[in-house]
C-alpha cells in the first residue's frame, strides 16, 4: 500500500515531510486536507492536536513532521542518501546529530516561524503585522545566526561534513525568507557577518528546489 501523507502543499510542515520523501525516493500519495478542516472527527482520530501533516504507512499512523522524517529514514534505509549518521559512526556522531536537530527546533524554527507569521500569515487573515514584534524577533534571529556562523565556519553542515536531517529541516522556512522579507542572506552587509551560514542556506534552498 502506498504511503499516504495527509497535509497541504502550502504548509511548511507538510513540505518538510515531502522533502524527505523525495530525498529518500519513497513513493507517496498526498491527501489534501483543506485549510480549516484539521478538526474534522475523521482527522482528529489520527492527529489529535488538529494539525497537519500526518502519515498512514500501511496502517501505522504518525504525526509531527520531524518524527515522521526520522521514521522514514529508519524504515527505508536502502533508499536515497542516509541523512542520519550510520550506526558505525558511533555514539558521539549520533549525539552531535541530536544536538544539531535541537538547534533547528529551538534556535531557528520558533523565531523564524514567528516572523513569517507576522509577515505572511497575518495579512492572509486580514491582520496587520506588528513591526515592533518583528524588530525584536529579528534581533533574536541575528544573535542565533551568529551562533550558526560559529558552528558552520568549522564544519560544512550542522552535524559534521555530511548533510543530515538537521540541515534539511531548515529548508521550508529558509525558502520563505524572500517572501517574508528576511534579508539575512541577501543583504550584503548582513552576509558579511555570517558568510558560512549564507553559503549553507543558499545551498539548502537550491537542494530543496531541485527536489520540488
Amino acid at each position: 500500500m502506498t504511503l499516504k501523507l495527509y497535509g497541504r502543499l502550502q504548509s511548511t510542515n507538510t513540505q518538510r515531510v515531502i522533502l524527505i520523501l523525495k530525498e529518500k525516493k519513497i513513493p507517496y500519495e498526498l491527501v489534501e486536507v483543506e485549510f480549516g478542516q484539521n478538526n474534522q472527527p475523521e482527522r482528529l482520530q489520527f492527529q489529535p492536536f488538529a494539525e497537519i501533516p500526518y502519515i498512514d504507512d500501511d496502517g501505522f499512523i504518525l504525526y509531527e513532521s520531524r518524527a515522521i522524517a526520522r521514521y522514514l529514514v529508519a524504515a527505508y534505509p536502502e533508499h536515497g542518501p542516509t541523512l542520519v549518521p550510520p550506526p558505525s559512526a558511533g555514539l558521539r556522531a549520533q549525539a552531535l546529530f541530536e544536538q544539531a536537530l535541537s538547534v533547528e527546533a529551538f534556535n531557528f524554527y520558533p523565531t523564524v516561524s514567528s516572523i513569517l507569521m507576522e509577515r505572511l500569515f497575518k495579512p492572509f487573515i486580514g491582520q496587520t503585522p506588528d513591526e515592533a514584534e518583528i524588530a525584536t524577533l529579528t534581533e533574536k534571529l541575528d544573535a542565533r545566526l551568529a551562533g550558526y556562523e560559529r558552528v558552520l565556519s568549522k564544519s560544512k553542515y550542522l552535524a559534521g561534513d555530511e548533510v543530515t536531517l538537521a540541515d534539511l529541516f531548515h529548508i521550508p522556512l529558509l525558502t520563505l525568507f524572500g517572501l517574508g522579507q528576511i534579508d539575512d542572506f541577501t543583504n550584503d552587509e548582513k552576509v558579511k557577518k555570517w558568510p558560512s551560514v549564507a553559503r549553507w542556506a543558499n545551498e539548502l534552498v537550491q537542494r530543496g528546489s531541485v527536489q520540488a
Binding site: 489529535p48 492536536f49 501505522f60 504518525l62 504525526y63 509531527e64 513532521s65 520531524r66 518524527a67 526520522r70 521514521y71 529508519a74 524504515a75 555514539l91 558521539r92 549520533q94 549525539a95 552531535l96 541530536e98 544536538q99 536537530l101 535541537s102 538547534v103 527546533a105 529551538f106 534556535n107 520558533p110 544573535a143 542565533r144 551562533g147 560559529r150 558552528v151
Partner: protein, 230 residues
C-alpha cells in the same frame, strides 16, 4: 573520567532536565555553575563550549555537547545498560517516542516557557506582567492539554506504557507553571493529573528538588536505581 555539567543550579529549564536524566541513570557528575546573572554565558570563553551562549552544556572527557534534549538522548544511549530505558529501540515504538518528543517541543514547551517568562521571570526582575499575554499562552497550553487528557486515558505515558524522555522533558518547565499562577497540570483532568503526579514523584526529580544540582561526590550520591558503576 567524570562528566561535567555546566549550567544553572535551579530546578527549572534545561540544566534541571539534564540533572534529572543523570539521576535517573545513576550517573555521577561534576557540576559547574555558570553565572548567568553576570553574563558569563555570553563570554567568549564559555562560547567555545556553547556557541549560542546558552546553558546547559556537557563535557564528557573532552567531548562537548549542548542542547538539553540532545544531552539527555546521548546519556540515554551511552548508559543504555543501566537504569530505566529512556528511549525505545524497536522501530515503531521509537517512532511513537519521537512523535511524543516532538509534541513536547512543538505543543508544550513554547507555551509553558512563555507562561514562565511572563508569570515568573518578569516579576523576578520587577517588570509588570502582561496579563493578556499570560492568558494567551495558558489558554493555548490548556487546549493542548485537552489532547494530553485523551492520550493519557489510553496509555500510561506519552509514548506508550513505559516512561521515556518524552515525559521527562516536561518536568522542569511544567513545575514552574504553578508559580506562574497556572494549575493546569493538576486541574486539567484526571488522566493528566495522574500522569503529572507520577512523573514528578520520580525519585530522580525529587533528588533534583531536595538535594539540588551539584557535584555528586561519589557513587553513593548518584541516585541509586539498583545499578552498578558504568
Amino acid at each position: 573520567m567524570v562528566l561535567t555539567l555546566y549550567g544553572l543550579a535551579a530546578p527549572l529549564g534545561g540544566t534541571a532536565t539534564v540533572a534529572m536524566t543523570l539521576a535517573e541513570k545513576g550517573i555521577p557528575y561534576t557540576f559547574v555553575s555558570v553565572d548567568l546573572q553576570h553574563g558569563e554565558h555570553k563570554q567568549p570563553e564559555f562560547r567555545k563550549k556553547q556557541p549560542f551562549g546558552l546553558v546547559p552544556a556537557l563535557d564528557d572527557d573532552g567531548f562537548v555537547l549542548y542542547e538539553s534534549r540532545a544531552i539527555c538522548r546521548y546519556l540515554a544511549e551511552k548508559y543504555a545498560g543501566q537504569g530505566p530505558t529512556l528511549i525505545p529501540t524497536e522501530l515503531k515504538a521509537k517512532a511513537l517516542f519521537e512523535q511524543a518528543a516532538a509534541v513536547e517541543f512543538a505543543n508544550f514547551e513554547p507555551h509553558a516557557r512563555a507562561a514562565y517568562n511572563e508569570g515568573v521571570l518578569k516579576p523576578h526582575f520587577n517588570l509588570p506582567i502582561d496579563a493578556s499575554a499570560l492568558n494567551t499562552c495558558i489558554s493555548k497550553l490548556s487546549d493542548n492539554l485537552d489532547v494530553y487528557e485523551v492520550i493519557l486515558g489510553k496509555q500510561r505515558f506519552l509514548a506508550g506504557d513505559e516512561f521515556t524522555l518524552a515525559d521527562l522533558f516536561h518536568v522542569a518547565f511544567g513545575t514552574t507553571l504553578a508559580e506562574a499562577g497556572c494549575d493546569l497540570m493538576t486541574s486539567k483532568g484526571p488522566n493528566v493529573k495522574r500522569w503529572w503526579k507520577e512523573v514528578t514523584s520520580r525519585p530522580a526529580w525529587l533528588s533534583v528538588l531536595n538535594s539540588g544540582i551539584k557535584t555528586t561526590m561519589c557513587e553513593d550520591d548518584a541516585f541509586k536505581s539498583g545499578v552498578s558503576e558504568p
